[in-house]
């Protein structure tokens, strides 16, 4: 599905392969986690959040898990900014990762699932409220698994071990 949303054009065209942002939203549009790996203004961030929410909630089981966005670059009429959103829905929460179009969709889908499994282990059958009340811990999990827009640690056992260590320091 090709969608052109004006605010997603605010993402600069980075040559590197990387994650641009990670979002966890619920169906109502409330953000439970927003991790940005690129520079945006607050209102730009807000717009992006709204756009992603609008795009992702209208899709159902018969759609793929990838949404591609093709938007004309505002400065250069001939170029296109291309990126896509890979998302997965778990109960009432949407986990979205925004990446470059050349990235491997399926691999990032696995990445999302890996992340969710870690959350599940760490919070013992995680639910949305866990993410609300322990939001700073969720950020820690994200930072253990992703850094600088890349997947950092993929071994669930290792991540959990680190998280427990960090928790003991509190």
């Amino acid at each position: 599905m090709y969608i052109s949303h004006s605010s997603l054009s605010l993402l600069p065209s980075a040559p590197a392969i990387q994650i641009r942002f990670i979002l966890i939203q619920n169906r109502a549009g409330k953000t439970r986690l927003a991790k940005w790996y690129m520079q945006f203004d607050d209102d730009e961030k807000q717009k992006l959040i709204e756009e992603v929410h609008a795009v992702v909630t209208v899709r159902d089981a018969k759609h793929t898990n990838f949404v591609e966005v093709r938007q004309k670059d505002l400065l250069d009429a001939m170029s296109f900014r291309n990126f896509k959103i890979i998302y997965r829905r778990y109960a009432g929460l949407y986990f979205c990762i925004c990446v470059d179009v050349t990235d491997n969709n399926l691999a990032y889908l696995e990445g999302i699932h890996n992340f969710v499994e870690v959350l599940n282990e760490y919070f013992h059958n995680v639910c949305e409220l866990d993410l609300v009340f322990n939001f700073y811990k969720v950020y820690t999990v994200v930072d253990e698994m992703f850094l600088a827009g890349e997947i950092r640690e993929t071994s669930q056992t290792k991540v959990l071990k680190q998280l427990l260590m960090l928790q003991s320091l509190e």
């Binding site: 953000t31 939001f135 993929t154 071994s155 680190q162």
Partner: protein
């Protein structure tokens, strides 16, 4: 001052708010409390307050007054403080605020801290939001940590280095020595992040790429170990050991092997191995396979491997998971040009994807199908694509229709099939086709001489069904106008001829004129068609009546046509048959000028005056040169207004005799601009009609001849005498009759030159 409430309390309280206004009130109250607490410089509760502030920020409320507090937390010795402080920094600060530079010193200290977790926090923050200045200052520290033996830190340092390189590419050199031993690590995490670092460096700098090419054998070895080592519980995902690392290594191999034969060759085996041995039952395996396919297609692999890759994609197409089908179609679209035959083998699966439910899959399947059409499979493919056109969403119809036309033009097995296909498109997606499809179809029909009867019959039947699709209606009325005689005579060979009378045909055409569904352009077509039938049908009176009615139409275009046709009936009836004769075969020439010739001296020129025409300089052309008559066209741009093209016709008669019955007609198709024709005659120097003085010379000549002079001097004398004798009345007469002469000349021109503004 009572202790500030705990974070949990706050969250719970906010969640009890029933309206947005209530929530806002609570938050404002809490913000006020936090602000006063900050003013008191209270160290004990700062962490708690900032945490609450961050929560409120996540809900969307402004929290920037807490920025400095975050910095104070970072500087604290307690781990919990630092943790919240760094989180706050990542959420509230970015490189556009000058405040962030104050962090630099803190981070530097923390990078050298004794506790690895503190160091980790610092690396994380730097890697997420470090600005170029910070990166420059701290790159040395990061580099040091890259060489440490602590794997926890090493992997964070690697990614932090990636961020540094992205911000300040010049610092890449600094990290080069540290990368030497990265790949010999056993720790998967470090390996993974090292590969990422190497990928980043290779992508940014061609020198680095050359430098790291020698690592290809090592990478191949690591990959091999991954696949062969079997069960590794720590990094296992659904039975495959560390798929993320595999994917990253494959990507790095892709970058290294691109346009380099040796590296590509070194990779061939391992790629084949991965491609054949990976489990495909789960998404994980498919993710690895997909990356493998992308790598194979990008490097200089041998053809057997490429075929293997495309077969994998073909298998993907049969997968139940639509995600996998989607990625397969995307990749096939990229490779269809280079590996056309291999992709052809999967054509039927691709065509099946046209029926998929997901819109993006359908679109890719459509594009791919058009790319695969060739002379052999055109019939089958077109059937599927036309079926798709019937049922697809409106957003696809325009592209699909254009694709069908292009494919039909290139590979049509027979004229009848071509016409049938175009008709089918016009009936199902008529309102979405492009403007130039109407003239193209008309040209195609005219050129298929043997199909005229069949075509007009089919189009007539289509008109009876539905008159709302304008392109179809236009083509139909044009055809009926041209070949109406074939229609009523029931001459069709290809299919069962229908019985239709002249009146029925005229009913249909008149119906088009009055219908609300017809656009003005369509009305023009049908009026002209009715007019043309006046030479092919016998019921001329009815046609005359229709034409005269529209002489007073409100639509100016229609009115003009009707008036001209009326004039044709009344004053120029002798020309009518010739003018409305059958159109000849049209040829397309390279410069987009359609020229046609047929019987007698009448010819039509169709100019498609599009932008290309006006921007090129067109050389003069000889349009006709036969039997002593030569017609030449020259083209130039009008000087004041470059959007006007001036076309000059030079007609030369090189025979002894005069040429008569010379008729010029200019017809302009609807899509072009106006053609205004002005006739500029070269003023002939000795024509008595146009130069009254000639009459006077003749008068003198006659009088002098009567005197019969014998020699030159006598001649001179007699000339002078007779000139003086010519009375003024004679001159006056010549002047008086001059007007009449001019009008009769013009009349003569108009009798032989006629302009028709539109067809």
């Amino acid at each position: 001052m009572p202790a500030p409430i705990r974070l949990r309390e706050l969250i719970r309280t906010i969640r009890t708010a029933r309206t947005q206004a209530e929530e806002r009130e609570m938050i404002q109250k809490e913000c006020a409390a936090i602000r006063s607490s900050f003013r008191e410089e209270d160290n004990t509760y700062r962490c708690r307050n900032v945490a609450k502030l961050l929560y409120m920020h996540m809900l969307g409320y402004p929290a920037h007054f807490g920025q400095l507090e975050c910095l104070k937390l970072i500087a604290s010795q307690k781990f919990t403080d630092k943790r919240i402080g760094y989180l706050g920094a990542m959420l509230l600060l970015d490189e556009r605020q000058d405040v962030h530079l104050l962090m630099t010193n803190c981070i530097k200290n923390d990078l050298n801290h004794s506790t690895q977790y503190v160091q980790g926090l610092a690396l994380c923050t730097l890697g997420c939001m470090g600005s170029s200045e910070m990166c420059r200052d701290l790159a040395g520290e990061v580099e040091k940590l890259l060489k440490t033996s602590n794997s926890y830190l090493r992997k964070k340092a690697a990614l932090c280095a990636v961020h540094v390189i992205r911000k300040v590419p010049e610092l890449m050199e600094m990290f080069l020595p540290a990368t030497k031993n990265l790949l010999s690590e056993k720790n998967h995490g470090v390996l993974h992040t090292s590969v990422v670092l190497l990928t980043e460096m290779c992508e940014r700098s061609p020198d680095m790429l050359l430098h790291f090419r020698k690592l290809v054998p090592q990478l191949v070895r690591i990959l091999k170990n991954l696949i062969m080592s079997g069960y590794s519980p720590e990094h296992d995902v659904s039975g495959i050991s560390d798929p993320f690392l595999q994917v990253r290594i494959l990507r790095l191999l892709r970058i290294l092997g691109r346009s380099d034969d040796d590296s590509s060759e070194a990779m061939n085996d391992i790629l084949a191995q991965v491609a054949t041995n990976t489990e495909t039952s789960k998404n994980v395996g498919n993710a690895i396979l997909y990356e493998t396919v992308l790598t194979i297609m990008d490097i200089k692999s041998e053809s057997g491997l490429r075929v293997l890759a495309i077969n994998i994609l073909g298998r993907f197409l049969l997968n139940n998971d639509k995600n996998i089908r989607y990625v397969a179609l995307t990749s096939l679209l990229k490779t269809v040009q280079t590996d056309h035959n291999a992709v052809q083998r999967h054509r039927s699966t691709i065509v099946d994807c046209l029926k998929d439910l997901d819109v993006s899959i359908k679109r890719r399947a459509m594009e791919l199908s058009f790319a695969l059409v060739n002379g052999n499979n055109i019939r089958g493919m077109m059937k599927e694509l036309l079926y798709f056109l019937d049922s697809c969403d409106p957003e696809f119809k325009a592209d699909c229709a254009s694709g069908v036309f292009l494919a039909a033009e290139k590979y049509a097995p027979s004229k009848r099939w071509h016409i049938d296909t175009i008709m089918r498109v016009l009936t199902t997606a008529g309102s979405y086709v492009r403007d130039d499809s109407v003239p193209n179809l008309i040209q195609l029909i005219t050129n298929s001489v043997e199909m005229h009867a069949y075509t007009v019959q089919r189009l007539y039947k289509a008109l009876l069904d539905d008159i709302s699709q304008q392109p179809l209606v236009q083509v139909s009325s044009w055809c009926i106008g041209e070949y109406g005689d074939l229609l009523v005579s029931g001459q069709c060979e290809e299919e069962e001829p229908i019985q239709v009378t002249e009146d029925e045909v005229l009913d249909v055409l008149e119906g088009l004129l009055v219908s609300n569904l017809s656009t003005p352009v369509t009305r023009g077509y049908s009026l002209t068609a009715i007019m043309k039938l006046s030479t092919r049908f016998s019921s001329i009176n009815r046609i005359k009546k229709v034409v005269s009615i529209y002489g007073s139409s409100i639509d100016v275009e229609l009115q003009q046509r009707a008036v001209e046709y009326n004039a044709l009936f009344k004053k120029y009836d002798h020309m009518r048959p010739a003018l409305l004769e059958r159109m000849p075969i049209m040829e397309k020439t390279a410069s987009n000028v359609h020229t046609m010739f047929f019987g007698g001296y009448v010819w039509y020129y169709f100019f498609t005056l599009n932008c290309a025409f006006l921007s090129l300089a067109i050389p003069p052309m000889t349009a006709y040169s036969k039997n002593g008559l030569k017609i030449e066209f020259t083209f130039e741009r009008a000087n004041p207004n470059p959007n006007i093209a001036v076309i000059t016709i030079h007609a030369t008669n090189t025979t002894e005799a005069d040429m008569t019955e010379f008729v010029f007609q200019a017809a302009v198709p609807k899509v072009s601009h106006d053609l205004s024709v002005t006739f500029v005659l070269e003023w002939p120097s000795q024509s008595p009609d146009l130069n009254p003085i000639e009459n006077l010379w003749r008068e003198l000549k006659v009088r002098v001849a009567q005197q019969q002079p014998q020699n030159i001097t006598a001649l001179e004398e007699i000339c002078m005498e007779e000139w003086a004798k010519i009375p003024a009345t004679v001159c006056e007469n010549f002047v008086k009759t001059y007007r009449k002469c001019l009008t009769s000349v013009i009349d003569n021109i108009y009798r032989n030159f006629w302009t028709i503004k539109r067809t």
